[in-house]
Amino acid sequence: MITAAIIAFYLGVVAYSVAATLFFVELARPDKSFGRWAASALGVGLTMQVAQFASELSIGEASPWSLKFALSLSACSLSAAYLALRTRLRIDAIGVVAAPLSLTLLVGAQFLEGSGKVTGFPRTLLVMHIAANLLGVGLFLLAGAASAFYLFQERRLKTKRVTPLQGRLPALDSLDTTEHRLLLAGFPLLTFGIVSGAVVTARLDDMTAASVARAALAYATWVFVAGVLVLRAVAGWRGRRAAYGTLAGVACMLVVIAIYVAHSGARGGL
């Protein structure tokens, strides 16, 4: 089974690499067939990643509460969200970010400890806490990519610059809608993750400087995302403002992940 997991990992790496390459090629050359092949490769990568973890979990090589699992789950949710929204909103170009991010998370996860040890805490709540946070991470990373694309495209149209990418990037409308839908989907997950995280921290009595910073930044992420959603609904804040708000939230979230990774490296597991 361990061999099956290794094979699935390498196939996943190859598939994500092919997807990333094809998305770049598609951006450079206006040929829709590249995009279709890239999306298929991304789908294969996602399947291989799920297969890898299924194999590792079945033989006890990986733990659902390990950082390794966490990063992989983020990659999966990111790829799955992209594939789900791609055709509907015509956001093919975001694949240029989605595929390399998935690849980075998949490969990065291999360098982390696979067997996290958590004691003195209800197992079900912990699983839900981790799953909610990491599915949310995948969705927010994609929302961040959509926001970055929005700002680039908006600036290009405002400054009236003619670039080789003209006509190959998604429409502003699509990018704005993508970002909004991903935030809407990720926000309940983030909220649950923060609440359950507070409970975890209190139960484990884990009041280190790192955990406090982590919590503070998680709250900041929540405030930014909530702000973007509320202001859009109440005051019609869309477009550039929403994109900046989303990027600020994603930046906070990335710092939280960095603290997790650093802290987990020192401690082993989540």
Binding site: R29, P30, D31, L89, R90, Q153, L157, K158, K160, V162, P164, Q166, G167, L169, P170, A171, L172, D173, S174, R232, A235, G236, W237, R238, G239, R240, R241
Partner: protein
């Protein structure tokens, strides 16, 4: 090889091109009439608003006298339109092949890189096939030209970007609002270019509102474009509804002010607005373009995008020329090698017949005791021996055929073979006519299946 005779925007003004304009329903009869004139054996007509060209090949395939084919083709064109002689050009052989490849690849078009010409060449080929005026030569060269054009489109960005102000405006609208059918456009005024843009927006599915100071004119335009007329006094409310605003009035002052748009943005709840100001003097305060979620392009901005697209296409044209040259060269190599095919086929047939005759005689004589399996094995052995014997000759002839400097050697070799093996010219011609009626290359034919919209 082929000849191309015709005229285009490069040699003839529109009033001359009009004289040779060939309606689609008259093309088949013209083609059939042309191939009845010796020595023309195959023909097709590429007829667009910028060119009318006849592509023809002789009855003798690769060995046809192209000068005669061109002369007869020119005569047929002049019978159709006597006054165009001074504007006609003609290409023969390799020049004609390259010209056809360049035309299909849109390198000879008025707007380099425009996509319509490829569809028009495909249509011309289809019409000729249906008319029965396409044979071995055109069945090879035209699909190759189409393949070359497809390579140009997929390997270069020669077709990227828009090259007219109205199409650039629509392209930009699509970069802001993905699906225009879910959006509302407003036309203010009645300039020609504004109406063209509004018509394109309507064709893209946008709901169209029309307003202006002249109510009668507004109603007429709205009716013509299936839009909704709006009173100019309701401009503020109409601007709130509109996502794309096209202005084209002759007003000497701004008709859309900064403060007005600032005020209306709140009512639009952050939705993007795209102002296309086609008026000179301008209709929209340029400061409007600095507002969040508001995009403003005037005539100069749109013209700059057009100019950049044209520059880009010109740069890409060099890469496209290289592809066309490569494809044309590949075709020429193939066509050169094909010259010796009839000789090789006749020689093989002659030898096979002799050997089969001897085998049949033996099967009914000394070898009559052989069973079906042994007889089949003997036939296979003789066929293999024949292939081995002819292989060096075939290779040598094809090598001579593809080397222009070996023309005399090739002719000498063919003459020697004819003499030594008694290959009669009639027999060679018979084979040549068989090869001419071959169907087109299936690999190339599959290219024709994926037709582009034109």
């Amino acid at each position: 090889m082929i000849v191309v005779v015709g005229l285009s925007h490069r040699t003839a003004p529109i009033e001359v091109r009009e004289r040779l304009a060939l309606p689609a329903d008259r093309v088949p009869s013209f083609l059939r009439g042309l191939v009845e004139r010796e020595p023309v054996g195959e023909a097709l007509v590429v007829s667009t608003c910028n060119r009318v060209e006849v592509v023809a090949a002789g009855t003798d395939g690769a060995r046809s006298n192209l000068t005669d084919v061109a002369r007869v083709t020119t005569r047929a064109i002049l019978d159709l339109a006597p006054g165009v002689a001074g504007s006609l050009y003609q290409h023969e052989g390799r020049d004609a092949v390259r010209h056809l490849f360049r035309v299909a690849s849109s390198l000879d078009s008025l707007v380099v890189g425009e996509p319509q010409i490829l569809g028009q060449v495909k249509d011309a080929y289809d019409v000729a096939r249906e008319s029965g005026t396409v044979g071995g030569v055109l069945n090879r060269v035209v699909p190759r030209a189409i393949r070359s054009a497809k390579r140009v489109r997929s390997e270069t960005t020669i077709g990227a970007g828009q090259v007219s102000v109205p199409s650039v405006a629509i392209d930009l609208a699509r970069q802001i609002f993905r699906d225009l059918s879910k959006h509302t456009a407003l036309l203010i005024g009645s300039g020609d270019m504004g109406e063209t843009v509004a018509r394109l927006l309507r064709h893209a599915g946008a709901r169209l509102l029309v307003t202006g100071r002249n109510d009668e004119r507004v109603r007429a335009i709205a009716t013509a474009m299936q839009g909704e007329p709006r009173s100019f006094s309701e401009l503020d409310a109409t601007l709130v509804e509109a996502d794309v605003v096209v202005t084209t009035t002759s007003a000497p002052h701004f008709i859309v002010e900064l403060e007005q748009v600032q005020r209306l943005r709140r009512a639009r709840r952050g939705r993007s607005s795209f102002f296309i100001d086609l008026a000179v003097p301008r209709d929209v305060d340029p400061r409007v373009g600095h507002l969040d979620s508001v995009f403003l392009y005037n005539v100069d901005d749109l013209s700059n995008v057009v100019a950049a697209s044209m520059d880009s296409r010109r740069r890409e044209a060099d890469r496209a020329e290289a592809i066309v040259a490569e494809e044309a060269q590949s075709y020429e190599r193939w066509a050169d090698a094909e010259q010796v095919t009839p000789t090789i086929v006749v020689l093989r047939e002659r030898l096979r017949r002799v050997l089969e005759g001897e085998i049949d005689r033996s099967f009914s004589g000394k070898l009559r005791h052989l069973g079906p399996a042994e007889r089949a094995a003997l036939s296979v052995m003789v066929e293999a021996a024949l292939n081995k014997m002819l292989h060096p000759t075939t290779v040598k002839l094809r090598r001579l055929a593809t080397d222009p400097s070996s023309r005399a050697d090739l002719d000498q070799s063919i003459a020697t073979l004819n003499e030594l093996f008694g290959l009669e010219p009639d027999a060679v011609d018979g084979v040549a006519s068989v090869t001419q009626s071959e169907p087109p290359d299936p690999a190339l034919d599959s290219d024709l299946g994926s037709r582009e919209a034109s």
